[in-house]
């Protein structure tokens, strides 16, 4: 078989397959969690830097970085806060002088700003690392929020000055809000942005006069600052030094996951989940409740959520295999249920006679077995991205052109939820 492959696959394709392997790594091992900065005091600096897109390009960005570091990041640090705490964020401006002032606004928070210079929407940090502006607010209401530049935001948000805020409720870290029906087992961040590369090229060449944000036309789309398949890489991977955050949802059957969507750019994105419907819990950090204390009793079900620019949406999703019509574990009659298994389909046979291997096309996420946790024989050259025999569900934008990175497919707003078999270690 190996000899067959060597004969039939042109060298360039083989190289591309190897490159994809390097880019994706072993997806099934990437950490599935929200990472960021915790505390009550954050010292940020606006800096320039470059990011890498999945089509192999790179772009000049302006981004928020930690003052303790030396670079910017895209998106800015995810600030993970506790309800009720008083938060202080300082900002210094190390952007080139031509970029002008820079600032932060915190939609949904009541902010007091001091230092720096008065700008249009808030106080701004003037160029020069000695001059900081300080923003303070009380993290009053739990939920999902964002922050972004309030200085010429039509340019500066596009250049990368945007980040996520999570305020954890007093009820506990495994709750989205202060109500028992907002409990989750795992949570994932979907900060959605897009890019018009012409603007970044113009800025990179110092041709600020060529920037016309009224002609905005995005051709690149990002989840947490990365395109597919880079979103499936590990957090803080060294090959993406200014794009620290992944988006790799993983879970065990029967768990409830919380997805925190943030519209960080300027276009709406209809995000669609395969595998099951989800429940929309909250918008803009407010539970969908009929009255205080009711929890998210007005939550509604959908399989596509339109994420507006400037808006946040929290949804919960679960999966047990219910309704699939066959036993996903391949149990025989009399065998015990697996943890989280839906009993209705227990011991129901797989409805398809699996053809011989030579008559199959193997997707890169196929484990070689149709059963959860099953690991079958794979042909030589298969990348083996499915480390534990999980089920991969594509979660993506339903504006299908956004599944590209500058016209290269696949890219853009795609990731995969991996439902792993019971017992799989998920960091």
């Amino acid at each position: 078989m190996a000899k067959y492959l060597k004969i039939e696959i042109p060298g360039t394709l083989l190289a591309a397959a190897v490159l994809l392997l390097m880019v994706v790594g072993i997806a099934g091992n990437a950490a599935a969690t929200i990472v960021g900065e915790t505390g009550t005091s954050f010292n940020l600096v606006a800096r320039t830097g470059n990011i890498i897109t999945s089509d192999g390009d790179s772009f000049l960005m302006w981004g928020y970085g930690l003052e303790s570091g030396t670079s910017m990041q895209y998106p800015g640090p995810t600030l993970i806060l506790q309800e009720g705490q008083t938060i202080t964020v300082t900002l210094k401006n190390e952007l080139p002088a031509a970029a002008g002032n820079v600032s932060i606004v915190f939609p949904g928070q009541i902010v007091t700003a001091s230092g720096g210079a008065q700008g249009l929407l808030t106080r701004e940090a003037v160029p020069g690392s000695a001059n900081a502006v300080t923003y303070t607010f009380v993290a009053k209401e739990p939920g999902t929020y964002m922050y972004h530049s309030g200085t010429r935001p039509d340019l500066q948000v596009e250049m990368g000055l945007v980040g996520a805020i999570i305020i954890r409720p007093k009820l506990g870290a495994k709750y989205a809000y202060n109500h028992a029906n907002t409990r989750f087992d795992r949570e994932f961040l979907y900060l959605l942005t897009e890019m018009d590369p012409r603007i970044h090229r113009a800025i990179a060449f110092g041709q600020y006069n060529l920037v016309d944000t009224s002609n905005y036309f995005a051709t690149n789309w990002f989840i947490n600052g990365r395109n597919f398949p880079d979103v499936m890489q590990a957090n803080y991977v060294a090959t993406l030094p200014n794009q620290p955050y992944n988006c790799q949802p993983r879970m065990l059957p029967g768990e409830t996951v919380l997805l925190r969507f943030i519209g960080g750019g300027r276009d709406p994105h209809p995000m669609h989940e395969h595998g099951n419907d989800f429940s929309v819990l909250a918008v803009d950090g407010r539970m969908l409740q009929s009255a205080p204390g009711k929890g998210a009793d007005l939550a509604w079900m959908a399989n596509t959520i339109r994420v507006l620019p400037g808006q946040t949406v929290d949804v919960t999703w679960t999966w047990t295999g219910a309704g699939i019509g066959w036993d996903i574990y391949g149990h025989l009659p009399g065998q015990q249920l697996a943890p989280g298994e839906d009993p209705a389909d227990h011991a129901k046979p797989f409805p398809v006679v699996i053809p011989p291997r030579d008559e199959l096309t193997f997707g890169q996420f196929y484990s070689g077995s149709p059963f959860l946790g099953g690991m079958g024989e794979l042909p030589t050259g298969h990348p083996g991205f499915n480390a534990y025999g999980g089920f991969f569900y594509m979660w993506h934008s339903h504006t299908e052109k956004e599944l590209t990175s500058n016209d290269i497919w696949p890219g853009g707003l795609v990731s995969f939820m991996i439902v792993e078999p019971p017992g799989t270690p998920i960091p």
């Binding site: 606004v105 939609p107 949904g108 928070q109 009541i110 902010v111 249009l120 929407l121 808030t122 009053k140 209401e141 309030g150 010429r152 935001p153 039509d154 340019l155 948000v157 596009e158 600020y208 006069n209 920037v211 016309d212 944000t213 009224s214 002609n215 300027r266 276009d267 709406p268 918008v283 803009d284 950090g285 407010r286 969908l288 009929s290 007005l298 507006l308 620019p309 400037g310 808006q311």
Partner: protein, 352 residues
């Protein structure tokens, strides 16, 4: 005739003033549609079509505006009818259409033969004619003519009136305005969003718009100016909204062709109580408002926490005037005044 009613709830300071236009007779407005120009903050002069409120049909004494004058129908016990006498000083036929309100004397729609401007039918598609095209939702007012449009059972809430004739072009030219059914609330703010693509407007004004002409349609509509209440920043001054301990009603309208996302900074959230003039069973609490084309949204700011200016902008970041590097577009501020000494105890009557 202007009449002011005040309902007193508990304290004199809590008076809820309802400004009503007209008395026991049906509300009649004499609108005139006419071409004019608007000047953008960068000095660009753009031809537009707008509406004026005249004292009598054809009087010509009102000022042409974009958006057109705000119309109200108080909807008291004897008064649920709206009559608009439309005088047309445009070079093309035009009409009035209100999405969400049922016109009760509509003699349209108006059909052409699909090849020219020749009108071949009104009120129905000609039998067995599959090439006829509808030009107008309602009966038309010819150039220099006057026609009457009537709604006998006006519904409460916020609505948009606009041209019902070739609306793709005529609405883009500026023929739109706000209509409020029911009493106006004394502490309310009108936020009317729209856009201008000067290429379209200049083509229409110069006779270059239409089939076979340099600009054939709105297929290449790319707005360059983004307006609230007809103005782009910095021409738009902060809007007086009310006092810090009052409930303030924000009425959002979008007569543009694009989705906008009004966002209010330094406020916890707004309570969205109605869309398209239809009340929600429960308010939606959001920082952002999805204001799609042709939509109205009513939102309440519940007793703002402080006085001062609060920036309101389009989070789709249409914050430029034709690509200018200086701030522009859909950006304004709400001016919240000092708290009243006595806290009002009323609710928003029109929203109950």
């Amino acid at each position: 005739m202007l009449k002011i009613k005040c309902l007193v709830a508990g304290f004199m300071a809590a008076a809820l003033c309802l400004v009503l236009v007209g008395t026991s007779s049906a509300v009649v407005y004499n609108l005139r549609a006419e071409a004019t120009t608007v000047t953008m903050p960068d000095g660009t002069v753009i031809p537009v079509w707008g509406y004026a409120l005249d004292s009598a049909p054809g009087a010509g004494d009102g000022q042409i505006m974009v958006p057109g004058p705000l119309l109200t129908v108080p909807l008291d016990e004897t008064d649920t009818t709206l009559t608009i006498n439309l005088t047309n000083k445009l070079p093309r036929p035009t009409s009035i259409d209100i999405v969400g309100q049922v016109m009760t004397n509509n003699l349209g729609p108006v059909w052409t033969d699909g090849l020219s401007d020749s009108v071949i039918s009104s009120g129905f598609r000609p039998p067995d004619n599959y090439t006829a095209r509808m030009r107008s939702f309602a009966h038309e007012t010819s150039p220099n003519g006057t026609q009457t449009y009537e709604w006998t059972n006006v519904r409460p809430g916020s609505y948009i009136y606009k041209s019902g004739t070739n609306p793709a072009m005529q609405v883009a030219m500026g023929l739109y305005g706000g209509l409020i059914g029911g009493s106006r609330y004394s502490k309310e703010v009108i936020l009317f969003f729209s856009e201008i693509d000067p290429v379209i407007n200049n083509a229409v004004a110069n006779g270059n718009y239409g089939p076979g002409l340099p600009v054939s349609s709105l297929i290449d509509y790319h707005p360059k100016y983004f307006l609230i209440n007809g103005k782009a920043y910095p021409a738009l001054q902060p809007l007086i909204a009310g006092h810090a301990n009052q409930n303030i009603l924000l009425r959002f309208f979008n007569a543009g062709l694009e989705t906008h996302v009004p966002t209010l900074l330094n406020m916890p959230h707004m309570s969205i109580v109605a869309e398209d003039g239809i009340r929600f069973r429960y308010p939606k609490r959001q920082v952002t408002i999805e204001l799609v084309a042709g939509k109205t949204v009513d939102a309440v700011l519940q007793q703002p926490h402080a006085q001062g200016q609060f920036s309101l902008y389009d989070r789709r970041l249409n914050l430029t005037n034709a690509g200018s590097a200086t701030p522009g577009g859909m950006l304004t501020a709400l001016q919240i005044q000092e708290p009243l000494v006595l806290v009002p105890t009323y609710q928003l009557l029109l929203l109950d």
